[in-house]
Every structure is written in structure tokens, then in C-alpha cells.
């Protein structure tokens, strides 16, 4: 493992915070997987385990006024935005206390106040929504930036190309972040992408591009920061491809038999959590302190689990509510 040692106390405490967020995501999802396997969570459950450094690093480059648009694999992004795990877990359990009142589920976390603009379930469909949010920032002359996460599978759908083209011609303040985990469900990238490097598609739209490895959280933050600042200066969008890996299948129902054990083991050696932990130790943080932090997070997740389990289901009167908004 090539490791970078945090140079000063500020970068140590920053990395500690990133580590905390990544552990929070990991443990949240492990708890969710457990709940799913005993039937407490229904539907699809797409886990983010292995990709944590991408969401945490990217979102660390944002301010509260910026916007985040996510996919059906949205738990990590929501937690990295700082959303409370309790209403998130309650949403997975389909409870009225959920972040989307139980109407959304795993794929549709929304938090208007946190500018968390949703998990979206149609592959690539949300890319032009993100461009639309960025369009609105420009229209209103606000300097908010929108970041949009999607997988490499989404890079083949029309909405990707239309969204990127419109964002480029109008110089919209948006950063497109392709989390390339190398499999679109069970289809490996070499069978789906004519040109394997998604980021070079930026050339087709005269757009800035970047391509990074996604196991080093501070590096992700630094690169995304550059793109966010470019967008904020009014210089338009960037397409960033972050190479990463999901340790689990596409969703809980996928045993991921299309890939080898060796491949998985090789990627597990690049686990972003292990890496951050190692770097913290090199930076002088004691193992006991990190263990203590892990334990605290574990307790926090258990509380979220308990909260979700004991929360009431949404009232039946909610069924017809929110189909239409209240009148102006």
C-alpha cells in the first residue's frame, strides 16, 4: 500500500473526520444488509461498501449551499452530506419517520434543507436533473455548484450525453462524477464501453476532465475541489471519472458470480477505510483511539437501527398525500 502521511495536525484531523464518515457509511450499510437479510428492509438494497472514499472525498469539497444529486446507491452520499443516520435507516425500514416519510425507500433519499436532491432510480436519468439544478443556480445568479454521481453504466445512456452537452454549451456550474466500479449490474465495462476511459468523453463536449483512483479520500477531495472551484468561477462543468470498486454485488440480491474471488481480494487490499486508518496511524493517531471511534460509530448505528425498528409505519392517510403539491 502506497500511503501518504498527513503532514500537519490540520490534515490529521481532516483525515480523521473523513475516516469517521467512511466508517459510519460502512457500518450503516452492514447494519442495513443485516436488516435486509432478516426481511426488515424490502425492495432493492444497493450497497456502497468499498466506494466510501468517493462520496466522502467529493462531498467534502462542497459547502452547504451546494447541491448533490445521487443515484439508487445513495446511502453513502447522504451520510457524507451529514444527514442523520436515524431518518435514513427509518427510510430503509419504510417508516413514517424516514427521510422521505417512507415513500422513497433505499433508492430515494431526499433532504431539501441539506440540498440533498435525491437518490434517483433510473440509470442516468438524473444527470440532466443535476444540469437543471445548476441551470437554476446560474439563472438566479447564485454561486452554488451541483455535483452529480453516477456509475459508468450511466455513461452509455442518452441522458448522459444530452445532460453533458447542455451543461457544456451553457457553462453550467456542475461537476459530473462517474464512480466507475467496473460493473453495470453484471456487465463488465469492457463489454459495455467502446472507449474504456469514461472521462475522455469530456473531449466530445469540450469539457474539462479528470481521472483518479478512488481509494484515497483526500486525493478525491483535492481533485473534486479543483472542479468545484472551476464551476464556481463560471468556467463550466467537469467530468471526473473515479475508479473504485464495490465489494458487494450490484444489490443484495446479486451474488456477483460474474467476477473472480482473486479480483475481489485484490481490490479489498485497496480498501479506502484500511488505507485511511493506516495513514492516520502513520500520522501519529493511536490504534486505540481509532478503535474507540469505531465503537462510538457502532453505537450510533445501533441507535439508528433501534430508532428505525421502533418507529411507526406511515399513517394510512399518507397514501394519497403528496401526489399533488398544495396550491401556491
Amino acid at each position: 500500500m502506497v500511503s501518504s502521511i498527513p503532514k500537519d495536525s490540520q490534515s490529521v484531523s481532516e483525515l480523521k473526520e473523513f475516516y469517521r464518515q467512511m466508517v459510519l457509511i460502512r457500518k450503516f450499510e452492514e447494519a442495513a444488509a443485516k436488516a435486509y437479510s432478516v426481511g426488515k428492509i424490502g425492495g432493492f438494497l444497493h450497497l456502497y461498501i468499498g466506494q466510501e472514499a468517493v462520496g466522502v472525498g467529493s462531498i467534502a469539497a462542497l459547502t452547504p449551499k451546494d447541491y448533490i444529486v445521487s443515484t439508487y446507491r445513495d446511502h453513502g452520499h447522504a451520510l457524507a452530506r451529514g444527514l442523520n443516520p436515524k431518518p435514513l435507516m427509518a427510510e430503509l425500514f419504510g417508516k413514517g419517520t424516514g427521510i422521505s416519510k417512507g415513500n422513497g425507500g433505499s433508492m430515494h433519499f431526499f433532504d431539501r434543507n441539506a440540498h440533498f436532491m435525491g437518490g434517483h432510480g433510473i440509470v442516468g436519468g438524473h444527470i440532466s436533473l443535476a444540469a437543471g439544478i445548476a441551470f437554476a443556480s446560474k439563472f438566479k445568479k447564485e454561486d452554488s455548484v451541483t455535483i452529480c454521481f453516477f456509475g459508468e453504466g450511466a455513461a452509455n445512456i442518452g441522458s448522459f450525453h444530452e445532460g453533458l452537452n447542455l451543461a457544456a454549451i451553457w457553462k453550467l456550474p456542475v461537476v459530473f462524477i462517474c464512480e466507475n466500479n467496473h460493473y453495470a449490474m453484471g456487465t463488465p465495462e469492457y463489454r459495455a464501453l467502446a472507449v474504456k476511459d469514461v472521462s475522455v468523453r469530456a473531449y466530445a463536449y469540450d469539457m474539462a476532465r479528470d481521472h483518479i483512483e478512488g481509494d484515497e479520500v483526500r486525493k478525491v477531495r483535492d481533485h473534486v475541489q479543483v472542479a468545484v472551484e472551476r464551476a464556481r468561477r463560471g468556467e463550466g462543468p467537469t467530468l471526473i471519472e473515479v475508479s473504485t470498486y464495490r465489494f458487494r454485488g450490484h444489490s443484495m440480491s446479486d451474488p456477483a458470480k460474474y467476477r473472480t474471488k482473486e479480483e475481489l481480494e485484490a481490490y479489498k487490499k485497496k480498501d479506502p477505510l484500511m488505507r485511511a486508518r493506516h495513514e492516520l496511524e502513520l500520522g501519529g493517531i493511536k490504534t486505540e483511539e481509532l478503535d474507540k471511534m469505531d465503537l462510538e460509530i457502532q453505537t450510533q448505528i445501533e441507535e439508528a437501527y433501534e430508532y428505525a425498528e421502533t418507529s411507526p409505519e406511515p399513517p394510512l392517510s399518507q397514501l394519497h398525500k403528496h401526489v399533488y403539491a398544495e396550491d401556491k
Partner: protein
């Protein structure tokens, strides 16, 4: 009262609303410099500038998504589809994003967006440019569906659609853009979900909307000379639907026929027929009938197109049979 064309009435409604509310913008292909493919946005670029009257490349899915995203953060977009035929490449954004956003977010994201443009069949435009899609969109909860037939209605209904906090499918009739009618000079709105009796009668209720109102009125005039009195209900919007207006009329006439431009199978007329038999069955002297476009894609050939479309003769024949 001013005499305006259907397109002028739509233009006036948009201009007035945009003058009042700076969060409204118009976006679509050729809406700006070209002055609108059907000239509905004539003059608006000069008035509001390129920041609010925005030409797009040909990418319906993309700019429909831009509209939805911008509506999530407080803008009030009017998205023009050059014709509703092209909306099919944006239907994912309309149904999966716009129609469901407020619901799946637990009420966090109202969707004040209007999708509008030319719809309907005819004019020898062939199979891909000649079809009526209101039934498709009326199928989806979360959307409102508006289909005005007159300049007066077009003006009042578009203003209501723009002010509504929900995604509105506003289908204009391509063949009616040049039609003229009286439009009050004073500002007014027409609430969505309020139909209108366009002609009073006693023998049969004819339920319709948009361009098919013309077929209905023509048929009613023919039948009047034969001593048959037709009442015409113009629904104006399919979602929300003015159900009571339908039932009140059927209770009076005891017979109903639906006239629509769209295809028959799973068409909106089927829903109306169901509602009437469910809620006014005791008043019916005859099964509800429908006059629709034929169950085929549109042919280019003039005679086959004529045969395919509903018309006054078919409406009148259907009514005569029902009254025998």
C-alpha cells in the same frame, strides 16, 4: 372583447405571467430566435431576453430534465415540445422524475413546471407526427393534463397551469393555432378541473376536449336540423376531471358519447365510459359510445387519413344510431 387566435391567446398568457413572475422561463427548440416553430412564442425573446427565452439543441430528454431539476430549486419552467410526438424521448423525465418527485420525496419537492406544445393528428404529417397523447399522460398520477379547445380557454387554462405547483401536461392542438375566438380583455384564469357546457341540449351528452370539440359542434349543428338536441361537455382538463359536470348532463339526457382524437384502446374515453356506467348507470338508456381515431397508425394518404380521423359525420351517425 378582443378576437384572438389560439396561438395569440397562449402567447398573451405566457407574456403576462412572465412579466409578473421573474422565476418563470420558457425553454425549447426554436422558441427564441426563430420565434417559435408554431409562432406561439413570437416576440418573447425581444421582451424577455435570452436568459428567460432559451433556445435548446434538439435534446428533449436533456432539456425536460433541465426543467425538472430547475423546478426542484424554485424556478417555474415552461418547457415547450415542438410537438408532443417528440415528448416520447423525454417521457422518462416527465413520468419518472416530474410526476413522482413530490411523492417519493415525502412532499419535499413540489414541481411547478408546464410541459406544453403542439399535439394532435392530421395535416398529412404521417405516422410519427400525427397522434394524440393525452391518454398516455392522463394515466399517470402526479401529472395534470390540460387540453384547451378555444382561444379563451387556452389563455385562462395556461395561466392556471403556469401558476400551479404541479407538473402540467398542456397539449395544444396543432390544427387550432390559427383558429380565432373571443378573449376577454381583462385578465382571468380558468381553474384546472373545471369543464364547460359548450352547447346546451336534451337528447344526448357529447363529451369531448381539444380539437374534437369542433367535430362535436359540427355534428350537433347537423343533428339540430333533424330535431336532435345535443349537449356538448368540453372537459378542458382530463386531470383533474370535472366528473360531476358529466354526470349532471347524463342525468338530463340519458345518453353519452365520447369524441376524442386519440386511439380507442385504453384511451381516455374508456375511462369516461367506465365512470358513467359506475356513477350514473341508472340514468342510461343506451351503452356509452365512443368516436375515436381508428386503431391504426396514421397514414399519409389523404383518403386514408380522412378515414382514420374522427369527424362530424361519424359523430352524427353514432348519435343517430343511439337514438333509434
Amino acid at each position: 372583447m378582443a378576437i384572438l387566435t389560439y396561438r395569440e391567446a397562449l402567447n398573451r398568457a405566457m407574456v403576462e405571467e412572465m412579466e409578473k413572475d421573474p422565476s418563470i422561463y420558457l425553454m425549447g427548440e426554436e422558441v427564441g430566435h426563430y420565434q417559435g416553430a408554431y409562432k406561439v412564442s413570437q416576440g418573447m425573446l425581444d421582451k424577455f431576453g435570452e436568459e428567460r427565452v432559451i433556445d435548446t439543441p434538439i435534446s428533449e430528454n436533456g432539456f425536460a430534465g433541465i426543467g425538472v431539476g430547475s423546478a426542484m430549486v424554485g424556478l417555474r419552467p415552461i418547457i415547450e415540445f415542438m410537438t408532443w410526438n417528440f415528448s416520447l424521448v423525454a417521457i422518462d423525465q416527465i413520468i419518472n422524475s416530474a410526476a413522482k418527485m413530490n411523492y417519493m420525496s415525502g412532499g419535499q419537492f413540489p414541481m411547478p413546471i408546464v410541459f406544453r406544445g403542439a399535439g394532435g393528428a392530421g395535416g398529412r404529417l404521417g405516422a410519427q407526427h400525427s397522434q394524440a397523447f393525452e391518454s398516455w399522460y392522463a394515466h399517470c398520477p402526479g401529472l395534470k393534463v390540460v387540453c384547451p379547445a378555444t382561444p379563451k380557454d387556452a389563455y385562462g387554462l395556461l395561466k392556471s397551469s403556469i401558476r400551479d405547483n404541479n407538473p402540467t401536461i398542456f397539449i395544444e392542438s396543432e390544427v387550432l393555432y390559427g383558429s380565432k375566438g373571443e378573449v376577454p380583455e381583462q385578465e382571468y384564469t380558468i381553474p384546472l378541473g373545471l369543464g364547460e357546457i359548450k352547447r346546451k341540449g336534451t337528447d344526448i351528452t357529447l363529451i369531448t376536449w381539444s380539437r374534437a370539440l369542433g367535430f362535436a359542434e359540427e355534428a350537433a349543428s347537423i343533428l339540430e336540423k333533424e330535431g336532435i338536441s345535443v349537449e356538448i361537455v368540453d372537459l378542458r382538463s382530463l386531470r383533474p376531471l370535472d366528473e360531476n359536470l358529466i354526470y349532471e348532463s347524463v342525468k338530463k339526457t340519458n345518453r353519452a358519447v365520447v369524441v376524442e382524437e386519440g386511439w380507442p384502446v385504453a384511451g381516455f374515453g374508456a375511462q369516461i365510459a367506465y365512470l358513467i356506467q359506475k356513477n350514473a348507470f341508472a340514468y342510461l338508456d343506451h351503452p356509452v359510445e365512443r368516436v375515436t381515431q381508428m386503431d391504426v397508425p396514421m397514414s399519409y394518404a389523404a383518403n386514408l387519413e380522412r378515414m382514420s380521423l374522427p369527424n362530424a359525420t361519424r359523430v352524427a351517425d353514432t348519435i343517430r344510431e343511439m337514438l333509434q
